[in-house]
C-alpha cells in the first residue's frame, strides 16, 4: 500500500514493475492512468492545473486504498496523483492494484478511481481558448461512486 502526491511525472512501467516484483502470489495487475485531454466540454485546453489540500489529500487517498484492501484480497496497491500545471497527454494519476485473481484487481482499481474522483480534495482549472475555467463536478462521477455502496 502506498500513496504519493507529487508534482513530478511518474514512470508507469517502473511503478508497475516495482509493485509486483518479488511477489509470485500476484496473478493479476490492473492499472489505470488518467491523462490530460486537449479538449473538454467543447473547448480546447492548453494547460490543466491541479490544486489540492495537502494533508487531507493523503488522508483521503490512504482511506480509500485501505477500504479497497478491506473489500478485496489485494497483494499490493499504489496511488500516485500529481498536482501543478500539466499539458495535454501528460499523466495525472496512476492507480494500480495486484491480486491473485483478475476480478479483485479490476474491481479494486475501478473502486479506487471512482472514490478518488469524488472524495480526494483536488481541483482542476483549465486554460482554454475561452479563458480560465474551473472544472465542474460531473453527476456521473457521483453515480459511479454510488454503485459501490450497498
Amino acid at each position: 500500500m502506498a500513496v504519493r502526491v507529487q508534482q513530478e511525472d511518474f514512470d508507469i512501467g517502473l511503478e508497475l514493475a516495482q509493485l509486483t516484483k518479488g511477489n509470485p502470489s500476484v496473478g493479476g495487475l490492473c492499472s489505470f492512468v488518467g491523462l490530460v485531454r486537449d479538449l473538454n466540454d467543447g473547448n480546447s485546453v492548453a494547460t490543466l492545473t491541479l490544486e489540492h489540500y495537502p494533508g487531507m489529500t493523503e488522508k483521503q487517498l490512504e482511506r480509500i486504498e485501505a477500504e479497497a484492501h478491506d473489500r478485496w484480497p489485494l497483494e499490493a496497491s499504489l496511488i500516485i496523483h500529481r498536482f501543478g500545471t500539466m499539458h495535454p497527454e501528460e499523466n495525472i494519476v496512476l492507480v494500480a492494484t495486484a491480486s491473485a485473481h483478475r476480478g479483485a484487481a479490476f474491481d479494486a482499481c475501478h473502486f479506487i478511481m471512482d472514490y478518488l474522483k469524488t472524495e480526494a480534495p483536488f481541483w482542476k482549472v483549465e486554460a482554454t481558448d475561452a479563458g480560465e475555467r474551473w472544472v465542474s463536478e460531473r453527476d456521473s462521477d457521483g453515480e459511479a461512486r454510488d454503485r459501490w455502496k450497498d
Binding site: Y53, K59, F122, W123, W134
Partner: protein, 83 residues
Amino acid sequence: MKILYFAWLRQKIGIGEEQIDVPGDVTTPQALVEYLRNRGENYALAFTDVSAIKVAVNQEFADYETLLKPGDEVAFFPPVTGG
C-alpha cells in the same frame, strides 16, 4: 481558528489561508460563513451560495452543523474534481 479556501473560493476571497479569532458564538461552519460574509464584499460574493461549497473540519468532510472547537482547521472548497 485556521481557515482555508481552495479553487475558485480562494480566488474570489483572495487568500488561501488565514488565522482568525472568531467570536464565541461562531460554533458551526454555518455560523462561520455568516461571520465571514460580514468581513467584506469578497467574502460575501464567495459565499453567495453555500449549497455549492463543501466544508471540511480538521481535514475530514463535515457538514455545516458540525460543532467547532477553538483551534479547529476549517476548509471551504467547491466539489472536488481530481483524477
